[in-house]
């Protein structure tokens, strides 16, 4: 029994470490770091779209020539040549998760990526009042 618990804890730790490494270094494990603010947009029960200004910051120990793009949004693209850091702010309206990617200048290799996720507030329902005594119901 104790062995089983320990094994499960070990698996959880491994997943946590992997997640932290992925979050810190991007998908490819490169040293370029990409950060988004905000990282989550919460929709109220009566909302269908997020509308917010997103700030993207990237840092690299070396000078890089790269571009920031959003997967599936060809209208958004910002490039830097021989920079070790960069910032970009953009107002976005979206209804699904967005994946921000830093790619090389040829837009072939993903150097780092971060997701801006949407969390939808759980919509709860209840019965409407039944009021046949009321003339308008």
């Amino acid at each position: 029994m104790r062995f089983s618990l320990g094994s499960r804890a070990g698996r959880c730790t491994a997943i946590l470490v992997t997640a932290l490494l992925t979050a810190g270094m991007g998908e490819t494990g490169s040293e370029i770091q990409l950060k988004l603010r905000p990282r989550v947009c919460t929709l109220a029960a009566n909302e269908t779209q997020c509308s917010t200004t997103v700030h993207a910051d990237w840092h690299s120990p070396r000078e890089e020539s790269l571009c920031l793009v959003i997967l599936g949004r060809s209208d958004v693209k910002r490039c830097w040549e021989h920079y070790s850091q960069g910032t970009y702010s953009i107002e976005l309206v979206f209804s699904d998760d967005l994946l921000f990617e830093l790619k090389d200048a040829r837009l072939e290799t993903v150097l780092a990526s971060q997701a801006l996720r949407i969390i939808r507030e759980a919509i709860r329902y209840r019965h409407r009042r039944r009021d046949p005594w009321n003339i308008f119901q």
């Binding site: 329902y125 046949p132 308008f136």
Partner: protein, 276 residues
């Protein structure tokens, strides 16, 4: 008896509060029967209609713009001028404590909130700008009153029933009122056609508060049966056509009053409803 009913509802509320949520598990979408928790619901009906006024020299009330506002919390709700606390919210039965304004004041004051809610912009201008209809006798105020008490509703295969046992709680007449109604779906197609019959019982205290003339006319309790027909046809997203006609018969306890000229109230409205 009334205190016993209140105690029963409060006991049901206590029991229900211990449950993780109301038993509204059959509600999973905004529909005719279900509503989103925590959201204001506003709709506006624009059309043509009238509600007759049974008082001597009473002016009929034109119905042109009819707003409807409601808000439902997990248990608390606002339904136009009614407020309620739902103790049990089941698929078939619902038990609430409600507070609802006294109805009859609408015939004495055009500016009554219940009239504002059914006529924001009639041909005679905003409600309240029009002076009260002349009521020759007696000339005394009828204050805004609220009645409170338990409400039981049920939905049995589309047949909807309602049973309210209310007492005046604002200290103006201390009367009691029982409101009952049952609604039958006549057509279950996209076009909803329903018929409802109902009965209102008012204690002598309420009847005399509105229709009594001290020393001249004092009555006992009154029964007021009504028949309502309603037609609703969806027209597109957020829009529907509605037609409503209701006939309410006033008991002799009310109709025999010297300030009452008609023993009935007729209401009719046809118009387009938009839900925002």
């Amino acid at each position: 008896m009334w205190k016993l009913l209140i105690a029963f509802v409060l006991m049901a509320a206590t029991t229900a509060s211990a449950a993780p949520a109301s038993s509204a598990s059959d509600c999973d979408a905004d529909s005719q029967d279900c509503v989103v928790v925590g959201k204001w619901n506003v709709s506006l009906a624009i059309g043509a209609g009238v509600r007759s006024n049974p008082l001597v020299h009473g002016q009929d009330l034109p119905l042109v713009v009819v707003p409807q506002i409601s808000y439902y919390g997990k248990r608390f709700y606002i339904d136009n001028l009614d407020v309620g606390f739902t103790a049990v919210d089941g698929e078939a039965n619902s038990l609430s404590l409600i507070a609802s304004p006294g109805y009859d004041r609408i015939f004495f004051y055009r500016s009554d909130l219940q009239n504002i809610f059914v006529n924001l912009g009639g041909p005679s201008g905003p409600a309240g700008a029009t002076p009260p209809p002349p009521v020759p006798f007696p000339s005394r105020p009828r204050e805004i009153t609220y009645l409170a008490g338990p409400e039981w509703t049920f939905n049995l295969h589309g047949i909807i029933g309602q049973f309210d046992v209310l007492r005046e709680v604002t200290g103006h007449n201390h009367g009691e009122e029982v409101r009952t109604a049952i609604e039958f779906p006549v057509s279950r197609s996209t076009n909803r056609f329903s018929a409802a019959i109902g009965l209102t019982w008012q204690s002598a205290a309420i009847v005399n508060y509105y229709y009594g003339a001290p020393g001249i006319y004092e009555s006992g309790s009154a029964l007021r049966p009504f028949l309502k027909l309603k037609y609703s046809r969806p027209l597109g997203p957020g829009w529907r056509f509605e037609g409503i006609a209701q006939y309410e018969h006033l008991a002799s306890a009310i109709a025999d009053s010297p300030i009452v000229a008609q023993n009935y109230v007729v209401t009719a409205f046809f118009g387009f409803v938009h839900a925002f």
